[in-house]
Symmetry: C2
Subunit: 207 residues, 2 copies
């Protein structure tokens, strides 16, 4: 409640406990180096089993992931990353290629069963690819929170040759690449000093 620590107010007004707030947002940081400790498959599965419940339009869930673990696959990916993103991507124990499935509508009869004809209507909808990307990007937000919920650090990146990554890993799938996210325990000097956040009144207009 002191002006020196304005964040403390947050803890008092939210339902989420302070330790969870710290884990997911306040103390979580984007990692730029990673320890060698592996991220087992069941950990990624647990992350997905949590974040899959985040809402999407028509429950479409268009986000898809390629989990890059093998040295061969990692080498293929690193070649498409921008210079500054190569060392960290080469050393992360797990890297996720996050994509949007423009063919998400094929699952609508299963995931949105009460809307008869939704798949057919979406089939010819020119906004379908945009809808896939928009909702998969919201899911990327959930995913970053979920990685942190697993006690892991995320390193989301957009600095790469998106068309190269698509052609290398997603040819023929109807998926578009959104981001590449390194995942693991932070290594030495894993983060830069935290940069400033915009103030509430720069973000919110009350009407």
């Amino acid at each position: 409640m002191t002006a020196l620590h304005p964040e403390v107010r947050t803890t008092d007004t939210l339902a989420l406990d302070a330790a969870a707030q710290d884990l997911l947002f306040r103390e979580a940081r984007t990692a730029n180096t990673f320890a060698s400790e592996p991220v087992p498959d069941e950990r990624l599965q647990a992350i997905y089993d949590l974040v899959k419940f985040g809402p999407t339009a028509m429950n479409a869930q268009p986000m898809r992931l390629v989990a890059v673990r093998t040295p061969e696959a990692r080498e293929r990916l690193v070649a498409h990353m921008s210079e500054g993103n190569r060392p960290k991507t080469a050393s992360a124990p797990l890297t996720l290629i996050v994509a949007a499935d423009t063919g998400f509508h094929e699952h609508l009869p299963t995931v949105f069963p009460h809307a008869a004809g939704a798949r057919e209507a979406m089939e010819g909808n020119p906004g379908r690819a945009g809808m896939a990307k928009f909702n998969a990007t919201i899911q990327l937000g959930y995913l970053i929170v979920g990685i942190r919920a697993a006690g892991l650090a995320a390193g989301p990146m957009t600095g790469f040759d998106a068309e190269g990554v698509r052609a290398e890993f997603l040819e023929g799938t109807g998926q578009e690449v959104l981001a590449v996210v390194n995942v693991g325990m932070p290594g030495p000097d894993a983060w830069f000093p935290r940069n400033p956040r915009l103030a509430y009144d720069q973000i919110v207009t009350e009407i």
Copy 2:
């Protein structure tokens, strides 16, 4: 650990406690009706003070919010919502117009201070509007989690006349509308039965 409750595994493998998992994802639901209980300004401020720490490219933080509370502003907004979204938007105590600020680069000297010339470079970058929308959409994911962290229900919607909402509320701001999100305590019969989620192996490809 029983096949009847596969979600229980999640709790064992994540660092986030089970109550927080439930609050943010597992028991949280998209609300379609709202109680009249108001959402005070300090609650929205606490949500922002938490989710502002979510990462964005170049720390650009392009998401902007219009907080609609007054009956007059609400009426103007409801007129642009699609038919099925009108009653809930008319009755929510707080509705957020979530937008992406294509002029986010003006803040780069403050929020990304070590990158000299970033504002100037971004000024003429034809990808700037796309970058604003992409990163603000990731922030929309954080925001939905943050609303739930406050013990509130979110009702995110894309069913509205986006150009109409932009012209009505954001003319001259350089902001593009992404979504409209109702916020409040759930009202009677606030949600439909939970729809199915896709299975891990439908989402993740291991390589």
